[in-house]
């Protein structure tokens, strides 16, 4: 199932159970997968039109009135475009608003550079009080939605909206503030977020044949980062690589480096090398930006050699 379809199903269930859960759009309900919910929940779904700033502050107002609003747009318009509204109306005012940005990084594909946010995590991460969560597959997303609903406070969810390869099995137990160990290893830790998680896991399994024993940890919540898990794993393996669909400045790499700053452990990065995106399909973009499965394998080898 597409991630947005699973997301919409979860929202529908929440709205059914709690009339204070509501969803606000800025003319991208179709892209977010929630357009069909408008007929079913006419008193909980509101389209603000192409006015993201207004949407963010309206949501803050609704939250101050006891509602639990979710606002949706593409990642650049759900973050950098409304940075001040997130900071002041939502986080500074301590309002319980959930912000959903779809099509993160290169997954914006044919919408190209204008819609391809490489900086959204960096923008939101520097605002006090924000939680940043990026699900990797449908299982994790479905487990996370009730936890996000239950968590009182502002959250930014960075949502890949199409079909993703499975990472987690049916027994998965989700904790919003604990990173997930996907594979144990001793030579290197790869901290990975978002759409490259499956590839990192596959690459680690392949490299085992070469005798390289790689630990893989999915950092689904980038802020607050699970310091305990990050530090313990880095100390154990002695070398770290971060892999992300985001600028290497401001995102997972920065968060991991900040966490390990006193640890004297080398931290390598694979991500978007401080450049804007461009138009293209995923295979082209991954190649153009150096983010293919082969690039991941190579980056793991190099990072393991930094010890």
């Amino acid at each position: 199932m597409e991630m947005r379809a699973a997301y919409a199903e979860c929202l529908a269930k929440m709205m059914e159970e709690d009339k204070h859960v509501c969803v606000l759009d800025a003319d991208l309900a179709k892209a977010s997968g929630t357009r069909k919910l408008y007929e079913r929940f006419p008193k909980q779904m509101f389209d603000c039109g192409v006015a993201e700033q207004d949407m963010a502050s309206i949501a803050a107002g609704l939250a101050s009135y006891g509602f639990k609003p979710w606002i949706e747009s593409f990642t650049p318009f759900a973050t950098r475009r409304i940075c001040d509204q997130i900071a002041i109306s939502i986080s500074y005012a301590k309002q319980n608003v959930k912000i959903v940005g779809t099509d993160p990084g290169i997954s914006a594909e044919l919408n190209g550079g204008t819609h391809m946010s490489m900086e959204d995590i960096g923008v939101v991460r520097s605002i006090p009080g924000m939680v940043i969560f990026e699900p990797v597959d449908e299982t994790q997303l479905r487990a996370a939605m009730p936890a996000l609903d239950e968590y009182v406070g502002p959250v930014y969810m960075r949502l890949f909206r199409k079909v993703t390869p499975d990472v987690f099995g049916p027994d998965y137990k989700f904790d919003l503030f604990k990173a997930d160990l996907l594979r144990e290893g001793k030579d290197l830790t790869v901290f990975v977020s978002g759409m490259f998680t499956r590839d990192v896991l596959d690459a680690a399994n392949e490299l085992a044949a070469e005798g390289l024993n790689v630990e893989v940890i999915n950092v689904h919540t980038i802020k607050p980062i699970d310091r305990e898990t990050v530090i313990a794993s880095a100390r154990k393996t002695g070398a770290v690589l971060t892999v992300e669909n985001h600028n290497v400045i401001g995102g997972l790499h920065s968060a991991v480096c900040e966490t390990l700053a006193l640890e004297r452990i080398p931290v390598s990065a694979l991500g978007v090398a401080d450049r804007f995106g461009e138009v293209g399909k995923l295979p082209y973009l991954r190649k153009a930006l150096g983010l293919t499965k082969e690039d991941i394998v190579e980056a793991i080898r190099k990072a393991a050699a930094t010890k």
Binding site: G49, D54, I58, A60, G61, S64, P69, D84, I88, S89
Partner: protein, 275 residues
């Protein structure tokens, strides 16, 4: 009642002068211009209870021009939300009374504001929330005239009309001055009433927004428009720095200016008609 309201206006004005004079500096012009509105709302029209400041279904006031915090605090203290002595803590480290309105710090403040334009959208969200709860509350929101240059004010205006928020009453503190110069010179917002009417709002133009009787009548009229299902904008033609001649005479220079305790004392005498 109106005579009382006039006295209340004097009390609020004097308290603004006292706390800003005590501090030595503040957003004095845009505080003094909105006193009559605050007196009418907090002492005549709003369904509120200082003993239960967070009561569900109460009327709310969102001061989107958040820098007028000291004026709102003076009104709240006079209405009994907190002791008047607390006004002297304005902007002191650790205070509950920061320069810009903060709902998490100050008893009686309904929404945090300060980054201009945002409070008005928050008010639209609050009005939508009240409509959904069907609790009968009236939501009052004040924007500045300089603030009305923010695009977000008009985004909120469009939304409020489109969603039929007849429970939302907006006010523009149309004192014609902003930090850099006259509003008309910086980036004119006129014709303001025509703009709000074009955005689908009922519009009431108050010739003298510092005449408490005119303001009172306008708020009553605005409340009667609730059944139109459209929000109402009350344009208050005010004087920035109203009530203290030297501050009025500063013009655009009175947005945020130094006020000594001696100047504050003299101003209070002027407000009380004792000079």
């Amino acid at each position: 009642m109106n005579k009382d309201l006039k006295e209340i206006c004097k009390d609020i004005r004097c308290d603004i002068m006292t706390c800003i004079g005590h501090l030595g500096v503040g957003h004095i012009g845009g505080c003094l211009s909105i006193v009559e509105l605050l007196a009418v709302l907090y002492f005549e029209e709003m369904n509120i209870d200082p003993a239960e400041p967070r009561k569900a279904g109460r009327d709310r006031f969102i001061c989107s021009k958040g820098h007028a915090g000291p004026a709102v605090y003076a009104a709240l203290a006079n209405r009994g939300y907190f002791p008047k002595e607390e006004l002297l803590t304005l902007n002191q480290g650790g205070t509950h009374l920061p320069s810009h309105c903060d709902m998490n710090l100050t008893t009686g403040i309904d929404m945090t504001a300060g980054s201009l334009g945002q409070g008005f959208s928050c008010a639209a969200g609050i009005a939508l929330g009240s409509k959904l709860e069907n609790d009968g509350a009236t939501i009052y929101a004040l924007v500045g005239d300089g603030e009305s240059q923010e695009g977000q004010v008009w985004e909120a205006g469009m939304f409020a009309a489109a969603k039929g928020l007849g429970n939302l009453i907006g006010f523009t503190d149309y004192n014609k001055l902003q930090i850099d110069d006259a509003v008309a010179k910086v980036n004119d917002i006129a014709p303001l009433g025509d703009k709000w009417a074009a955005f689908g709002w009922n519009v009431i133009d108050v010739e003298d927004g510092n005449d408490v009787e005119q303001v009172s009548a306008a708020v009553k009229q605005a409340k009667s428009y609730r059944s139109t299902g459209r929000p109402t904008m009350v344009i208050l033609n005010t004087v920035k720095g109203k009530g203290v001649k030297w501050i009025e005479d500063l013009g655009a220079g009175n947005h945020n200016t130094n006020v000594s305790e001696e100047q504050a004392k003299a101003a209070i005498a002027e407000i009380r008609g004792e000079d």
